[in-house]
């Protein structure tokens, strides 16, 4: 079995293959050469380059790889070529077994416009399409979707009539870049709708329905939290949903695992067909947990022409979260870098599907999902608790993640009450990522003490920062904060905090010694990065260099690339006058377009990058000299 994919899903498919005694072949780009999925495969084939279009989207290379590695079956995973009918045909034409639905089914569902027509005929409820040109104020808000899209990519909500044309243009550009097809369509946007989907497996004997999932908690139209079964559905609605899904699959004589997605209105009464994903979903583990099935195994069974049955009863409740390398507090910016520590909890009722291990590099080339963490328990509350606790205990250093946000979601009263909707994160502002002041201060103090106490080459036995004449506190500076502290005979003091080194930890006591709370902090240092773990949560700090060589200093007003990427649009020319907020240029990174805007009124004095330039994080993109009043 060759898996035409990467990361966690490749590992996931390999795991089932190993259980079935099926040999495994991985394909990988250059950037992915060191990742676990490559090591774990029996055979690995390199796809030269890094861009998806040069590697994982090159069907010809993948088929050639299968042939040369001796594979006789191809599993596409999700994303990339998984819903590419031409690729499915190539695979079949090469005499290989395609683990997925027929190319015809993929095509029928691949064009969202065509699929909707088909479903209308089959009697599946849906929202009709609008012509972008005919959208009126009354239609707002509307949703712009890429016909070839999936996984939320290329979807944008438009609330102002004036924006429609621009958004359609940009969505089309993104869709063209991402999927090779710029077709977009517009439909009414159901406010506060829920995203509910039904897992189906079509086989020779019919359509097996494996319950439903709720995937309403989303950011930027990408799912963040998924669970099964979808909570709070009446039996009637659930039955109708399942029937509609079965009808949808049956309408195209669907074979294999697929998901029929619906939009459920806020009342939980009416639902509309959104699309059918003709592949394995990212969130398939929650279904596997409650139904006790292995969906990859079922996919293989169907591909081998075997009947599948049973496993329809659901037990308990499962919740999955997608752990992303991203910064929820800053527009969900994807993060890249080396995972200096990646310790995810394991245990009963927990499942972790991840493509990374500690030491791996999270590159900018692909999706920034680090892992899927799934908890299964008898009730929804219990699953949410287990998952939140597990996430909180995770130690992930090197890149910023959405972990804290996930914990806050899982513990929020609204989530626990089942008040779900695709606008969940807009209604509930849980994204504030500022670790509370107290946690930051204590963690910075622990880091300062740890750093100062590391045995130096000389005078290693003299207490850190010792002075016989004290003139000022020691100051340890981080980019995020700074900490003033003093060494004393009885440990280190910072304000009303008191720290001591004990074992490998820093123990910090608050307030009076007779009534103090003592907490253990563990400090991890990796170059300039300092990660502090404690019961107050993970705090990531960056040491501020004490000295900067003036030659390395950056001109004030410089706009720095927030992440590596390429310049796809320049809005200004050198010498241009800009006002605060004006777009200066657009950077495309991690498949998202980021508009770099002027931080203040002024003149563009330097624009060192050209259109199409590849830039590194922190590189100067432009210099906007501030306009002085005087």
């Amino acid at each position: 079995m060759l898996v035409a994919n990467r990361g966690e899903i490749a590992r996931r498919v390999f795991a089932t293959c190993r259980e079935l005694g099926v040999g495994t072949v991985a394909v990988h780009s250059d950037a992915d050469a060191g990742l676990p999925f490559v090591r774990e495969a029996d055979v690995a084939v390199r796809l030269p380059g890094n861009a998806p279009a040069d590697t994982y989207l090159r069907g010809d290379l993948v088929v050639a790889a299968a042939k040369s590695a001796g594979a006789d079956a191809v599993h596409p995973g999700y994303g990339f070529l998984s819903e590419n009918a031409a690729f499915a045909r190539q695979v079949v034409a090469a005499g290989l077994t395609w683990v997925g639905p027929s190319p015809e089914s993929i095509e029928q569902m691949g064009s969202k416009v065509a699929a909707k027509e088909l479903m209308e005929t089959a009697g599946v409820p849906l929202l009709s399409n609008l012509d972008p040109a005919d959208v009126t104020e009354a239609d707002l808000p509307v949703l712009v979707k890429a016909s070839a899209g999936g996984g939320g990519r290329g979807m944008r909500v438009v609330r102002a009539l004036a924006d429609v044309a621009d958004v359609v243009e940009r969505a089309s550009a993104e869709a063209l870049a991402a999927f090779g097809d710029g077709t977009v369509f517009v439909e009414s946007y159901v406010e506060r709708g829920r995203h509910v989907e039904v897992q189906v497996v079509g086989h020779d004997g019919g359509v097996l329905v494996l319950g439903d999932r709720d995937c309403s908690v989303q950011r930027r139209h990408q799912k963040v939290v998924e669970e099964s079964p979808a909570p709070g559905l009446t039996d009637d609605v659930r039955t109708r949903l399942h029937d509609a899904a079965r009808a949808a699959a049956a309408a195209i004589d669907y074979r294999g695992a697929g998901t029929v997605e619906f939009l459920l209105d806020a009342d939980g009464e009416r639902f509309y067909f959104l699309e059918m994903n003709t592949r394995l979903q990212v969130e398939h583990p929650v279904t596997e947990a409650v139904h006790g099935v292995d969906l990859v195994e079922l996919q293989i069974a169907v591909a081998e022409g075997r009947r599948v049955d049973g496993g329809t009863a659901s037990v308990g409740h499962a919740i999955e979260v997608r752990l992303y390398a991203e910064d929820p507090a800053h527009d969900w910016q994807p993060q890249s870098g080396r995972l200096t520590r990646f310790d995810l909890p394991t245990g009963a009722g927990l499942r972790v599907d991840s493509g990374f291990e500690a030491g791996d590099e999270v590159s900018t080339h692909y999706d920034a999902m680090l892992a899927k963490v799934v908890a299964h328990a008898t009730t929804r509350d219990a699953a949410a608790r287990r998952l939140a606790g597990a996430l909180q205990g995770a130690e992930i250093h090197g890149v910023r993640t959405n972990r804290d946000l996930l914990v806050r979601i899982l513990r929020s009263p609204a989530f626990l009450a089942g008040e779900l909707g695709t606008d969940f994160l807009e209604r509930h502002d849980l994204t504030s990522d500022d670790a509370d002041e107290d946690g930051l201060a204590q963690s910075a103090f622990a880091a300062a003490v740890h750093l100062a106490s590391r045995a130096p080459g000389v005078q290693g036995r003299i207490p850190a920062g010792w002075r016989n004449v004290v003139s000022q506190p020691q100051c340890t500076e981080f980019e995020e904060t700074s900490c003033d502290w003093l060494p004393t005979r009885a440990g280190f003091v910072s304000g009303d905090l008191h720290a001591e080194l004990s074992g490998g930890h820093v123990a910090i006591a608050t307030s009076a010694p007779d009534n103090s709370v003592v907490r253990a902090f563990t400090v991890y240092v990796d170059g300039q990065r300092v990660d502090v773990e404690s019961s107050l949560g993970h705090v990531s700090l960056t040491r501020r260099p004490r000295f900067v060589d003036p030659a390395d200093q950056v001109a004030s007003g410089s706009l720095l690339a927030p992440m590596p990427g390429s310049v796809v649009r320049l809005h200004v020319e050198p010498g241009a006058t800009v006002t605060a907020g004006d777009p200066v240029l657009v950077l495309e990174a991690m498949k998202m377009q980021h508009t770099i805007t002027a931080p203040h009124d002024g003149t563009v004095t330097d624009l060192p990058v050209a259109l199409g330039a590849q830039v590194a994080a922190g590189e100067v993109l432009a210099v906007v000299q501030e306009e002085k009043d005087d």
Partner: protein, 544 residues
């Protein structure tokens, strides 16, 4: 050694804490420099204070041992003598750091400044430390120039001698460094000047005008840019004070400094302790006990073993016995023995009963020779009233025996460290390696006193001599005047034998909290390892 539980008379702790509080207050005066107004003005100019420069210069988390912080105490000049000296770790190298305090009369040097700088230079020389001068001084205090000008010349000579002795010197010039002061950068191996701040010339514009009629300005005569680009006196041009310190740290990083490896009891490689590291244990008794140890009246003796057990390494692997006493049954008024401090072996001589008899003197002479035989540094813990007097003792050869001890301590070449714990009177101060015997470092506890003899004894001696003189002349002795004289003498000798006064005279390297003794000694032991440790077998003729 058994650890005696201290349940001494109350009042000792209170008295000691009071003296420590007074010490803190005096240190605060030194830290305050020229006072709020001048500190504020200095900051307003965008400049850093002397100690702020030092904090930035030394490695993060490293220690700084300030030297002679009370220099000038009791004089007309500010406590600290307008300069900060000390030992800090810069780029992993123990350096002697000197920083003028420009908030005190523009950083001008007074007689105490010169004394303090000489002492700092001596420490750099004996311990082979690189020197970093953080320069910003208005030159000499003119009213006292007669005490500065002629002897002060040796400061510049010392810089070039250091250079010739392969002890690099670095000058970071932050401001004024004019006239004679221009020779500090002038004689240094490396010179960094801060742009728009450094001013280094022999004569300023008015003097030049008077001398030659030439019109000039500060920048053309001695600006940093000029020296960096034209005269070549500056090797590096720093854009600001931070940059100057950054460059200074890079200079030290490139000195290829290394400690002589064969004298390191603790072998340290790079940033991790090597396998040859001997390890060490914390002391066997709580250091806080030192506060209860020193009697308020120094006439009352205390057991110095109680100090050893609180200052030296406790028993542990590789150090099975914390203190191996030498000759414990002989000359019991002086305790001698071997111990470890931060893993480094030291020999200890500590007064136990105040008086030194012939036996103690001979025991000391022998022990000092033993330490020289095996290249082990010596620690002297002072609490002595001097050598015994009286006919029996004179006839028993106390001078001869005291001379043996002084001979041994004078000619010993292993490093000596002295701590003034209590009394240090008379020739006892000499035999125990007082200031004149050049211990590498000498620190004083707030409880100490040092003089030719005790104040009461000194006043009494004067009284007896005066009474004898008047009797010889057949005049009646004025008892009232005698009482007044005795009180006056007693009071002034008492004042002049106290730690702040003696520290003000730069007769020690600083007054320390007794609880810091272990840290201070550990730091000094690390510093002395920058020079080879070699005992001698060449003493003066021992008069037997």
């Amino acid at each position: 050694m058994s650890v005696v539980k201290l349940d001494q008379p109350t009042g000792r702790r209170e008295a000691m804490l009071e003296k420590i509080a007074a010490l803190d207050a005096e240190h605060a005066k030194a830290v305050a420099g020229g006072g709020e107004k001048y500190v504020e003005r200095h900051h307003r100019r965008g400049k850093l204070l002397a100690r702020e420069r030092i904090e930035l210069l030394v490695d993060e988390g490293s220690a700084f041992l300030e030297l002679s912080p009370l220099a000038g105490w009791g004089s007309d000049f500010a406590v600290g003598a307008s300069v900060v000296t000390g030992i800090g770790v810069v780029s992993g190298v123990e350096c002697l750091v000197i920083a003028n305090d420009p908030t005190v009369r523009g950083g001008a040097s007074n007689p105490w400044t010169v004394k303090k700088l000489f002492r700092a230079a001596q420490i750099a020389k004996e311990n082979r430390l690189p020197t970093i001068n953080l320069v910003e001084s208005g030159g000499a205090d003119l009213p006292t120039q007669k005490e500065i000008f002629i002897p002060g010349g040796a400061l510049f000579r010392g810089l070039t001698e250091a250079s010739a002795d392969r002890r690099p010197t670095v000058a970071l010039v932050f401001g004024n460094s004019t006239a004679g002061g221009a020779y500090v950068p002038g004689m240094s191996d490396y010179v960094v000047m801060v742009k728009e701040q450094a001013k280094v010339f022999l004569g300023g514009p008015p003097l030049v005008k008077m001398a030659t009629g030439e019109d000039s300005d500060d920048e053309s005569l001695g600006g940093a840019e000029m020296h960096a680009r034209t005269s070549g006196l500056a090797d590096y041009l720093a854009v600001d004070e931070h940059d100057a310190i950054r460059i200074g740290r890079r200079i030290i990083a490139r000195l290829n400094h290394r400690k002589p490896s064969d004298n390191a009891a603790v072998s340290v490689t790079h940033r991790s302790l090597s396998v040859t590291d001997v390890g060490y244990s914390e002391p066997d008794a709580d250091v806080e006990g030192l506060l209860d140890l020193i009697p308020t009246d120094l006439k009352e003796p205390f057991d110095p073993r109680e100090v050893v057990v609180r200052v030296c390494d406790g028993a542990g692997p590789g150090n099975e016995v914390a203190f191996d006493e030498f000759k414990p049954l002989y000359g019991a008024s002086l305790v001698t023995g071997w111990a470890r401090l931060h893993g480094r072996q030291i020999g200890i001589l500590a007064n136990a009963q105040g008086v030194l008899f012939s036996e103690e003197a001979q025991k000391a002479a022998q022990f000092i020779q033993l330490a020289n035989q095996v290249d082990v540094p010596l620690l002297f813990l002072h609490n002595t009233t001097g050598y015994m007097v009286g006919a029996d003792y004179e006839q028993g050869g106390i001078i001869k025996h005291g001379a043996m001890m002084i001979n041994a301590v004078s000619n010993s070449t292993v490093p000596h460290l002295s701590i003034m714990m209590g009394a240090s009177y008379g020739a006892g101060n000499y035999g125990m390696c007082g200031r004149a015997y050049d211990p590498r470092f000498l620190f004083t506890w707030p409880s100490a006193k040092s003089a030719v003899m005790g104040p009461a004894q000194l006043a009494g001696v004067l009284s007896i001599v005066a009474r004898a003189a008047s009797e010889a002349k057949g005049r009646p002795y004025d008892e009232e005047a005698d009482a007044g004289m005795r009180a006056d003498v007693e009071q002034s000798v008492e004042e002049q034998s106290l730690p702040f006064f003696l520290s003000g005279m730069v007769y020690d390297d600083g007054v320390i909290d007794p609880r810091d003794t272990r840290t201070v000694l550990g730091l000094c032991l690390s510093v002395i390892e920058n020079a080879p440790i070699r005992g001698t077998d060449r003493f003066g003729v021992f008069r037997l």
